[in-house]
Amino acid sequence: MRAPEGRLDILSGVDLRIMAGESFAIVGVSGSGKTTLLGLLAGLDTPDAGAITFDGHALHRLDEEARADLRRRLVGFVFQSFHLLPALTAEENVMLPLELEGSRDARSRAREALDAVGLSPRRRHYPAQLSGGEQQRVAIARAFVHRPRVLFADEPTGNLDQRTGHHISDLLFALNHDHHTTLVLVTHDTTLAARCQRGIELDEGRVVPGVRA
């Protein structure tokens, strides 16, 4: 990208392949380019140079609309700061991806998803009335409710205490296993990364050679 200081390479020489159904970790210190790589892989942004192929689709050649279409059908997200809409109840937040699809049974499917993360009793609560762990469980229910092929998780336990973080990561890996969903995880928690089948470490935008998280 271009910056006032001149050309800035945020990511460079990143060459990787993630297989369907596997869990993959991207680790690195703050500012190493992890979130940028995740955004590129999920089609939230496009690289200035290079190629990204997603389920046979060349993401770098697709416009924003086409990428949005892919995201809607194939991708789920879990964020470090949850990103729930504060004015919606837990159930309404989970319904969002289904409403975007035009699904007619959004409410019942959302209830099932909340049930799967153990939050049925709190479905009418607003995010501000839930603890951090509960909010993240709602976010996971939202990410899984439309059965995505790939789940992108950006520091999913970064805002949680260790015990709650464990519960959340257990939930993510269980869903990954049960639904055969590809899990791409950005974290600087080495324990969490170690639970993934494969991974890379980034340093100043480059893959650290020979490191397998």
């Binding site: 496009t46 995201r71 809607r72 997200f77 990103h83 309404e92 991806p97 975007l100």
Partner: protein, 827 residues
Amino acid sequence: MKMLRLALRNLRREWHLPELRTLAASLVLAVAALGVVATLATRIERGMLASAAELIGGDIGLSSPQALPESFAARARQDGLALTRTASFPSVAFAHQHTQLLDVEATDAHYPLRGKLQLADAAGHPRSGHAPAQGGVYLDHRALVALRLKVGDRLQVGGRELSITAELVRQPDGGELLALAPRAIMSLADAEAAGLLGVGSRARHRLLLAGTPAAVQRWRDWAQATTLPQGAELITPEQTQERMRSAFDRAGAFLRLTALLSALLAGIAIALSAQRYARRKSMEVALLRALGTSRRRVLGLLSGTLGALAVPAATLGVLLALGLAQLAWLLAGALFSSVPASLPLAPAFAAAAMGMAVLVGFALPPLARLAEVPPVAVFRQSLTRRSHRFDALYLIPLLVALGLIWSQSSSLKLAGILAASLFGVATIAALLAVLLLWLARRVAPGAHPALRLGLAALARRRMLSVIQATSLSLGLCALLLLTIVAPSLLHGWRQELSADTPNWFALNLQDDQRAGFAQALQRVGADQLNMLPLALGKLTAINDQPVDQLHLDDARAQDRADRQLRLSWAGALPPANKVIAGRWAGPAPAQAEVSIDTMWRDMFALKLGDTLTFHIGERDIQAIVGSVRKVDWSSFRVNFFLLLDPAHADELPHTWLASFHLAGGHAEGLAQLSRDYSNLSLIDVDALLDRVREIVDRVGDAVRWILGFSLLAGALVLAASLAASATERRHEAALLRTLGARRTQLRMAAACEFALLGLLAGLTAALGAAGAGLWLGQAVFHIDGFVPPPWPLAEAALAAAIVVMLLGLAGMRRIVRTPPMRLLRES
């Protein structure tokens, strides 16, 4: 001092926040709009006063049945005012074998101080000028016809031989509308030399003054504090003839209405921006509180920041107001040529003070609430407990709004109607918004995906949706009142003065002349003929107490008691009259009854059942006050302060008064009529009609100018109202895009959401504007049968929905085009 430094630093840091910029812009625009409106309104009111000054021949004057003491003229000279003296009296003129009673105005050479006399020379060529020189006299057409004279001939008035130097076509201060005799203007020196103004004369003396507004005001204040001679009264532009006064009152009400609505629009915009600013600040305040800052210090810092923002913003607003008012003035200079050119500064500064009051009133409640934010909110906002300590603060914007309405309208009725209408609109809008949200929850699941998302978006921001719908409705209602109802009221007023409004009066018509006169009028092409009996008499007693023994506080009452009065009678209530107390007597009540106008009720402190005794001809008649009427003096119909019942009044000595309409270009026909009915006095009121039409036109021009600035304030309300949800919308759009929402999906959803909001606001505003218009038309502007135009209002409601939708979509453009990754990082 330390706090001020801290506030300035805080302002510098926060200046990038859109809410703060919107708040500043709102205040600038509020002060500018209020200032422009007030400055223009002041200038236009000055223009109207100048126009009215022409009607009295000066800026102010004093009238008295005796010669006025020198002290009044001396004080005027001391105040730097120009002055002229006049004396009017009836006098018989002789020419050859003919005699005629004339209404003579004897004046010095400076008369009139404002406006000019319109004259015609021997060949009929028009010219304008001042009073005649010594030895000269001007006669009006009726006098020339009655005495069979022409310009250049000579006649005798008060034993002095005078030469007719011009025909008097129009006198700016046209005298009493129902002057009984033809008019003449002669030199005051001649009148004095002829002994016409000596002891025992029936002359009414006037001292007319003109000068700068400040000097006029000084003299006025002094005169009001001085004991006036017996029977003397001040002549002010506001107290010109009844019809003109009514026109000025209406004109003033129109201007104040437009100014007031602009101020309220600005207030709404400020309230919305402050609300948004306070929402954003709540987390920061929690942090400051957690770090040990006291509640008082937090409030001090917030007030300081707001103050540091308000002072330069208000200053900029004042400068803008003065600049724009001057520009508007220069552009419209041709329209208001008679108005003093100096730029009044006071209204813009008053507007700044009002803008500050609006800022404090509307911004204080949400900001003061911030003091409630507990330090624990740093961890989770849900821990914030809602206290009711500051609830009373929400009365402040209400009080400020009411104060604004009161200060700008200066009429309890106008203020009450506007306040009630706007309150009604706000309540209906809020209720409809709640209903819409309730419906949204039920309809959404089965609706079209775009509509479902739009409805869901509305439902998601419940409180914001209600606030948006209410503020949009109020803003649109004010705009509709300005753009549709006010011009329509003006149009209604203009129509009252339609081309066929009676413009001639005929006095002194005898019973046996009525039929012939009507036929003669038909022959010359006159129409709208209306005849009423007219008796001249004096009020001799009230409740059997002789009037000359009564102590009358009101100078006008004393004057009426001394003068000959005009009375009439009618079986049915005449048009443009409304009985407001008692009941209309009808054609034949058991006892003689009189119906009085409200002015008489007030002047003599009369009540129903009082008895009035009149001496008419050689007869006395005692009548009970049976009803009080409100007369629309602007209607240009023949109206009377006193109406008797026909059964008891028919036998009183009387003549007839006829009013009719005659288009221009019938001078020859009228001259013939004057010759055939030489006892008749024909009076042309076109001059007065033209003056009122001119006032209506000027008000129309002024309203159009003010409207432009009000529209800006309206646009700001719209923008602030839509921006109120921008933060939430941005975050929401970013998330939805991340989850795969298509741009069209977001656009369609936004279109549905804004169209619904716009439709709700448009419909409520149209209903509110129609109701307020109907009410204002009847109760304030007294325009009979006024109905606000339904179709333009319905179209405006629809247009409002479309504009809100388009503006909402325009606001969404940036959001839907930005890559979601960047949006997520921004949020």
